[in-house]
Subunit: 306 residues, 4 copies
């Protein structure tokens, strides 16, 4: 028996790069949080502190800024450029993972007209991209996180088994709220990934996710999750699989009966709920095409999915 080094990676996390295109008076702004990781043969650094193979994380950071100067384009395209460069920089580096968070900004309206160089950041929802280079393979995951949505009706929950510890009442009308994290993998895993309209694809998937959440009469959050993934696959032939993580942000009907007040969804008063923090349900699932080869390496290091 011997003690050995197993899987490992290292890189620079959370490089906050903002690039401004000033080529016309109408400036364009991209605001990213970029994390890079390298994989390959780094055994000597671990066992002997020999750094001859260690492309420093500081250099990785510098590379992010230098590449941004040539224009970012979409998060996916920027990730592809960076990941290929990093993975190709030395022969002992066999793979790279570049994860990008992209923060949206909208133009401030002044006198009803969108301003040329003043912006507001709405906050909340984040667009994400994860590019993985693994030897000759390249994988792209697009996604979003913190898409907070809620339905005030159109959600039921009943028909579940009851054991000794079950006290939950069945309901035919409840509030359903969640913060969607979704990631989807594009096919194929090769050079043909380039030249796509990544932002157009992203916008299309995002719309489908929102519409599926809203339009699905829900009997279970699992059903809503599945329908959201299914709708993406139906509408996007480029997408091989979708992974969704959806906390059930409970909104409990507040019991007002002690003060002589009813509080039920059928009443003519406003219905009053308590938005609860913890604990929360957590529903996670994958929806995929049954004829697409799996690509676990594309998901390595991307948390929140089974």
């Amino acid at each position: 028996m011997a003690i050995v080094l197993g899987p490992n990676q290292y890189g620079k996390a959370e490089v906050r790069v903002v690039a401004v295109d000033r080529s016309s008076p109408r400036h364009e702004l991209v605001d990213l949080n970029v994390s890079t990781s390298l994989r390959g043969d780094f055994t000597a650094a671990h066992t002997r502190g020999d750094n001859a193979h260690v492309l420093t994380t500081d250099t990785q950071k510098n590379t992010v800024f230098a590449f941004a100067r040539d224009g970012v384009g979409s998060p996916e395209a920027f990730g592809l450029r960076l990941a290929r460069h990093l993975a190709g920089s030395y022969d002992w580096i066999t793979g790279a993972r570049v994860a990008v968070e992209s923060y949206g900004w909208e133009r401030i309206a002044v006198g009803g007209q969108p301003h040329d160089h003043a912006f507001r950041r709405p906050g909340g929802e984040v667009r994400t991209a994860v590019v993985t280079v693994d030897g000759d393979d390249v994988h792209v995951l697009a996604g979003l996180s913190d898409l907070v949505v809620l339905k005030t009706t159109g959600s039921e929950f009943w028909g579940f088994p009851r054991d000794r510890y079950t006290t939950l009442a069945e309901t035919r009308d409840r509030v359903l709220a969640t913060a969607v994290t979704a990631r989807w993998r594009y096919t194929p895993a090769d050079g043909a990934l380039d030249g796509r309209d990544w932002s157009g694809l992203y916008a299309g998937v995002r719309t489908v996710l929102l519409e599926a959440f809203a339009a699905t009469h829900s009997l279970a959050l699992q059903q809503t999750l599945y329908r959201m993934g299914e709708a993406v696959l139906e509408s996007s032939p480029d997408v091989a699989e979708v992974r969704l993580s959806m906390p059930n942000r409970h909104h409990f009907l507040q019991d007002l009966s002690a003060y002589g007040l009813d509080n039920t969804p059928g009443s003519d008063h406003p219905v009053v709920y308590h938005a609860d923090d913890r604990p929360y349900g957590l529903i996670e699932g994958t929806v995929l095409r049954d004829d697409v080869p799996p690509a676990e390496v594309a998901w390595l290091g991307t948390p929140g999915f089974c």
Copy 2:
């Protein structure tokens, strides 16, 4: 010399109440975080543990939910109802403070049409209201927090004094970014506060703040802050004073010269900045009418202002 009880208050913080108006198929949703505090004679609770004067924080929470069932209206109107009820509930209670955070939701579009009962929460920016009852006086502060804005040009910073420790270069063109917290006080401090179109007033002030940020060619963040407050007072005769807290979220030009790359605002490449976390500048100030009596009690317990 004796040891005595000084100023004190107590209450329930962060009651997360969501109220849904289902009186038509087009549901309306309000989502609030309500904190209440009572002031008055609570000496016996402190010195002897005698709770005869203590309207419990649990009761305060129940009251928030019960009042929400009658309809919330605006955060300001809800705060007024609650604060007057709480301050008037027992004769030893002489004042109450109700602070409300209001989270905006927008309807999800399905097939281009806003949905009746499915919503998305944009996140980030929060609308706030603080109502203070102090004996016969009533004060209303409206506000917003986390309004994140940025200008990619139209900001200079020069002409400052230089001492031994000054190394900062002057600049005629920098990124200016901040997360605005603003609070403004309505006049007069009496019953005439009721019946206003609080949400209309709020929307008007918010627009003025955004437009002033965008349209001001800035020589200092202080100048931008002052102009934002001044514009509110010019456009809103109901507002007596505005207090603003604006962190300077530094975006530093990234030095790329070591790799043979220039990176200046005048170039034809995208300009690359590093968005920094800490430390950050913090600019805070009040803009007010010189003929309005002060009302410090309106601001008691509202942090972030001088």
Copy 3:
């Protein structure tokens, strides 16, 4: 009527300075988060963007690092040096506020012996100091935040008034938990503040706060709060007043009766509680000597107190 500038201040927030004394093999480490603010005549910067009076926040940051090189000493002593320097740097600067958070580190034990240069940061609790220079006056507030404490018994709550909205049951035995924020002001407000053993004073007050929390049989969190402040004043003649902010972190008895299980403090089983997040009670109060002149300027900009 005219629109004018009211109270204002500006500075650099959250300068994260770490200083290591290596004068012997047994290194000493201080880890601070320093925020500075200046007060004075900055009207021209606000109204005209004229920065001739603006000692830049970047310079303030540089000053923090430069001063740390001469040795930090205690947070209070460091704040005094910085605040006096900043307030005295130009005649239009009439005041300065320096707020310091100090993070504790303890030596890692190796083979039972505390290591010379390897440390562990326990996290949580933070020591604080706020120094305010206001013209010729100097004020020092010491304090701590996030001191999380809990009693599993020795806490009752009953005898409170019951109105329409009161549902809370009285209890003779509950869990009492809070996260203490405490700040205390030293007297007198003049040069005699110097040369004290700030860290010894701090340690003494902290011990008194902990012992008072533990030893007080509590009939109300207000009573515990008052007793903690009173004990500090009794034991520390240098302290003029204590301000405490104590959230009531509710631990609710979990109702297990639906599964045929009792769950009461008197049982021979473990008693099971649910630690709740929101809402929470919030108890805030001041305990002071009745013969000490107030000093509101010492508290300006220090949130969380009435």
Copy 4:
């Protein structure tokens, strides 16, 4: 081609259970954050909203509280009881994952004596356990997170390759700081897991991790990471593998030369560093025995490791 459901799980996250053993006047306190997940055949819930197989997350929460009443013991033992119960509750449930965070409390000293029922929570560092039942197999991961450690010397970094984007200077003496997340897997994966002294094992591994961090003269954070894992395996025959995630919390020497001040580790002044937030290096790796069968299912859903 068909669209199908892939891997999925669901459960209740962050059940905050506190259990107090009052069987003697000297109370014992455990404070846990428990998350449960179920795996099995939940296809009908996803595709049809048929909940006949869905043991509700509310029931899972109730089960956590009910089981706590029988005594928690160690986090590992509690996880084993819960995971086996949940996985065995219905034949369509084939697996369960129970993740536990355990928050430490220490007794408050009063007059030098540890108090019977008053406690302080140090904060920061968290003990973790993850138990996975997968059919007949059972896996236990112990661990810790947020163990923040720092060395003021005894750390070098040099000998790395230099490409176009490399600007980092080599150093023979730097501050090394990190927040360790470590998880280790016990063998074997069967019933023989029971009856161990989980808390004793945990304490032993924690001590070894701390001592290895302190005692290793570091040429790279990778070397420190590897040595920490190796030391655990050398000292703990029960442990099959260790996974470590260690951000490099950069402490940069502050350049004071512009004010005529040197600032180098060899000087007789305190050395001044700036503790940086982002970006940060992130080093992740596995150290394992080469003769132990892998068990990827034990790590499913545990983020932060490759």
